[in-house]
Assembly symmetry: C2
Homo-oligomer: 401 residues x 2
Amino acid sequence: MLIVKKFGGTSVADKERIFNVAKRCIEDYQKGNDVVVVLSAMGKMTDVLIEQAKEINPNPPKREMDMLFTTGEQTSVALMGMAMAALGVPAISLNAFQVQMHTTSVYGNARLKRIDSERILNELEQRKIVIVTGFQGIDKFDNYTTLGRGGSDTTAVALAAALNADACEIYTDVEGVYTADPRKVKNARKLKEITYDEMLELATLGAGVLHNRSVEMAKKYGVQLVVRSSLNSAEGTVVKEEVKMEKMLVSGVAADKDVARIALIGLKDEPGVAFRLFNHLARHNINVDMILQSVGRDNTKDISFTTNVDSADEAIEIIERHFKEYDRIDSEKNVAKVSIVGAGMMSNAGVAAKMFEALYDEGINIRMISTSEIRVTVLIDEKYVERAMNAVHDAFALGDA
Amino acid sequence: MLIVKKFGGTSVADKERIFNVAKRCIEDYQKGNDVVVVLSAMGKMTDVLIEQAKEINPNPPKREMDMLFTTGEQTSVALMGMAMAALGVPAISLNAFQVQMHTTSVYGNARLKRIDSERILNELEQRKIVIVTGFQGIDKFDNYTTLGRGGSDTTAVALAAALNADACEIYTDVEGVYTADPRKVKNARKLKEITYDEMLELATLGAGVLHNRSVEMAKKYGVQLVVRSSLNSAEGTVVKEEVKMEKMLVSGVAADKDVARIALIGLKDEPGVAFRLFNHLARHNINVDMILQSVGRDNTKDISFTTNVDSADEAIEIIERHFKEYDRIDSEKNVAKVSIVGAGMMSNAGVAAKMFEALYDEGINIRMISTSEIRVTVLIDEKYVERAMNAVHDAFALGDA
């Protein structure tokens, strides 16, 4: 069996944890499996690198930032190679150049295009554990790129697809996918299984377990994922195409605090305004999420949208420079999204209403609403997030098995 | 003019120094020159990486060690790229993969075989300052390698040769090449010029300014070097083929404390013994320096040799495992080499005698002697090094201009 195992930064944060991961991989290896390990940068290393960069240049070129970031995973994989050698097991570490992980050229947010499997298969053939840098890639000009948040998950899934792996295990600091964040919702319950689509909504909405791109890619290539803990051997949650489970309307509640709301007041109420606005943002790779447009009045309208809080300042700058068709621009960073997700929602009316009712009962004001077939999201004040999650979790009785 | 400038680890140890280096490079750039900068890892970063590795594995695989080491220079060049951007100058950092610096596969001590110039010339064409990682390379299997001590100098010289550069400037924390280490010999004097051969002997013998491989390569490809300070704009020392200067017998005195002496007692006095011994060491890439063989007596003989102090334990282990033809093995790490170097020595008798006399006057015992056409080296107790250097420096009146 060929197993791809991915461990995040906290799982390799120090010597003890590095050896824990090494031992887990060796267990599988010694059962005769081929093992490929994908690692992120150690603990807070990425933060340290950002700090180091900002000290030199508060606005560092993204290409050079990626050149700096990629040292993080390379450090992890080299140390893991040494740990496995210390345990007497042949292992080899490989970075994006050595594997040849080809991506687009969008520094800081590149997309994987193609992973060569030759070198890895070669090393596996020689019965080595292969340790691969997550998060990083190279573009067609041989520049380093990084995949953005949660990029190591994407690396793992893409590798599993490229190598036709029998399993892809994503190790995290939680035991699996829960009906809500267990740190915030007391009676949150671990799910045994979840569909790609539900996971996708949860990932996008800040459940924080898996990154959306990795789930998208898993869905596209039919890679069955297991999300499990790096700290114990509990079973985890399987993410796959179809789930035979309790007929639940809602699978989970998620929250995302890394959100900012930007509002443009006094736009001309004419066709093309929204297109021009969002086109400018898209051209600068600013991801926009919820969009709300007011009904026109006095020949003007307002548009509000949400974006990642890290992109908010850049988004405002771009709007001020390139899109001048408004009276006033407002922004708020103390907002958060709370969402419910469930494949069962599609065929059921009243789910959204039930969520709104739960929030109303708590006296929480809803600022924006956005829905998909299997999701309802509301934007609220950040300070109410945990109360909102608990209220919604209770309203749908998600804690009951 | 195309200028290659190399800065060592202390020159990029912190923010202030990084900007100093950036400014020096930009000065040349703004005069219309093409500038290629070669950097080492920052300050003590290499030591930190070694420590990190040893914590995981006291005897880490050399391949993984190189994988770890190469993050050091990559960090330096990325931060330098950011510093130059902060100063408004277009710059790009490149590592061994991006340049394609091909080396042999001897991890930790690889030799450069070929440097591709295409990418660098391309970036220079676009009027960018090109910042290249020193010390590192890739082998034909796309593994990272490192060039061993002083490897960044070699990178700089090789780049200057490959790019047909007009100048190759090696920036250090001293102002140039001195008649002796100014920290140890009070009236040491800076040389204006020195030949490759003299520099080669000085480098090999631990003058600590330039690495021998870099000088060998400079000689081979006729790259004229300038050794100068990164802290001021003093003129430095030019290293070239022929020097028209004061007819001095001796150009300088050098010392090397990183030496160990290994003695094998009671070898059979028969042909092939020395060959077998040193063949084992060579096959394990242990560099041996001075070799002394006693005259045979009672059908046995002794062989002593020196090696780098870091290789001593490994050398002993190799001898004990593979070469068992001796009675006893001794080793000493508290020894040092002191050498005098001078192209003028060749045609002059009595130079060695004068050195021995100076040491005798100080009561310093000579443990081993080795000579070349332009060098005399003695092995002495480490504790006498500075006294020996001063005595020899005075004996040849090297302080007088």
